[in-house]
Amino acid sequence: MDFYFGLAQIIGVHTLLGLSAYIVLLTGQVSLAQAGFFAVGAYVAGMLTVLAGWAILPALAVSSLFGGAVACAVGFPALRVKGLMLVIATLAFGEAVRLFFFNFDYQVAKGGVKLGPVGGEGFRQIRYFPEHGWTTMEVMLFIWGFVILAMALLWWFDRSRYGAVLRAVGEDELAAQSVGINLTAVKVSAMTVGGMIAGLGGGIYAHYTTHIEHASFGILLATFALAYPILGGLESVFGTVVAVVFVQGLLVEGLRFLGDWRNLLFGALIVLAMNVRPKGFLDAPALLWIGRIFRGRRGAA
């Protein structure tokens, strides 16, 4: 059973990562910086629980705020450029963060053992969960509590005027400006919310793996962050969850028996999925269909 709980943990954390890219994508911005915010959150939360001895909840709150603050600071200059230029700018930022942690040494002696990030070797012994006797299931439920919280937040945004404005900016910046929408404020706010969700996800990630290193936060993770909402569809936050289950559950775990062939099939299946469902798994017709099923059931009962 622990295997499935562990898988659910991975899916939960990757859903947070995907949601952080989802809200930025709504405004039409393709950001490869989400893995960078995720890394910042991971190191901040790890250092707070291990070195400062904080409890997990305040540590995650601070890692989330940190991720948001960094995203806000990066957003102002980065969002002045568009399209491919933004992709390059955010990619450069992500790499800068990774290289920062590659060179980041900060160790404190605790009970005769030196703890803390050691450059390329990474940051070991982030053992808050095992030290406090959390079971795998408890950690999994803890993670999914945050996933549901983040999804509820974005789902609410989607139904509010803010959500409509985000999509309006994503569709036509010129028209959006002309009806009085402040493009910078809207884009930076989306980036900040995305950064907060990524920072939270990173903080959780650091604690369930207990060992983080710079190499985990590279371009591959940034690509995954973008792939989830795109593969799932930008119509609804639920698309991102479906995509994470598809990628992490089905492709990464489900195809493990194929050995080296897995990576080949992995790429092919993503291409196939995008061809069969170009607007994502949960596109507008799919959501309509699901909505009808639910309404039908309620009507029957």
């Binding site: 609410w156 945004f157 139904r159 509010s160 005027r161 803010y162 409509a164 404005v165 999509r167 309006a168 569709e171 036509d172 010129l174 028209a175 959006a176 400006q177 002309s178 009806v179 009085g180 929408i181 402040n182 493009l183």
Partner: protein, 251 residues
């Protein structure tokens, strides 16, 4: 005092003088026509007034205050809205949402707090948007995606979206392009109704029947310069205008 005042406004693209030393004064409550042959600088003028292009030289004042350096969204905050020559709706939003996202005026800010304005649901503003939908005859299409509307409906929605910003001045960039006579008649009624509500209109248009019919005053552009200004009847009698439109010497 004029509501909108352009003084010596120029916009050059490299060596092309798209607009060159233009003076315009639009009085509050007027329907002001801006006409001229293709490429005479009408749309550029609209883009300069809304701030999509920066001025090369000159000044623009609105409501007695200079605003030639303000970014576009703040000009809207002062009360300038527009429609686009090539329709620019938010196609994947519904008709209703297109009007919803346009509620960014200072009046809307005063009416609702920050949180309810941004994170509030659709219920709070239903009434205001219903009125706009009624005005533009789109009430039955409110849940349709804007991209799925017919051409004439899209033009109507663009006008309604401009009005949703509670403007003092609306710039209409060729609102009758591609419309049949019946639709133009309805557009005419709407423009007159807007004036009756106290909204000033700057109408850029090629359909002369409409321009001559509704406007109080007309300015004619040719090669970025104003060649004539006056009432519709004065413009129709103007020799320079005939020459610009028909070419060569006029009989």
């Amino acid at each position: 005092m004029a509501l909108l005042e352009l003084k010596g406004v120029s916009r050059h693209f490299g060596g092309v003088r798209a607009v060159d030393g233009l003076d315009l004064a639009v009085e509050a409550g007027q329907i002001f026509g801006l006409i001229g042959p293709n490429g005479s600088g009408k749309s550029t003028t609209v883009n300069l007034i809304t701030g999509l292009f920066a001025l090369t030289s000159g000044s623009i004042a609105f409501d007695g205050r200079d605003f030639g350096a303000l970014p576009t969204h703040l000009r809207l905050g002062r009360g300038v809205a527009r429609s686009f020559q090539n329709i620019r709706l938010f196609g994947q939003l519904t008709v209703w949402q297109n009007l919803w996202v346009a509620q960014n005026s200072p009046a809307d800010h005063a009416k609702r707090g920050f949180l309810s304005r941004w994170l509030g649901g659709q219920g709070d503003v239903r009434e205001e948007i219903s009125q706009l939908l009624e005005f533009s005859g789109l009430a039955h299409k409110q849940d349709e995606l804007a991209a799925n509307l017919a051409f004439g409906e899209q033009r109507r929605l663009e006008l309604a979206r401009a009005l949703a910003t509670r403007p003092k001045l609306v710039l209409l960039d060729e609102p009758a392009a591609g419309m049949n006579n019946e639709e133009i008649g309805l557009l005419r009624d709407r423009i007159l109704k807007m004036r009756a509500q106290g909204i000033t209109v700057l109408l850029v248009e090629h359909v002369m029947e409409l321009v001559m019919d509704v406007t109080d005053r007309i300015a004619v552009l040719n090669f970025g310069q104003k060649i004539a200004e006056g009432t519709p009847s004065e413009i129709q009698a103007d020799a320079a205008v005939r020459k610009a439109y028909l070419g060569g010497e006029t009989a």
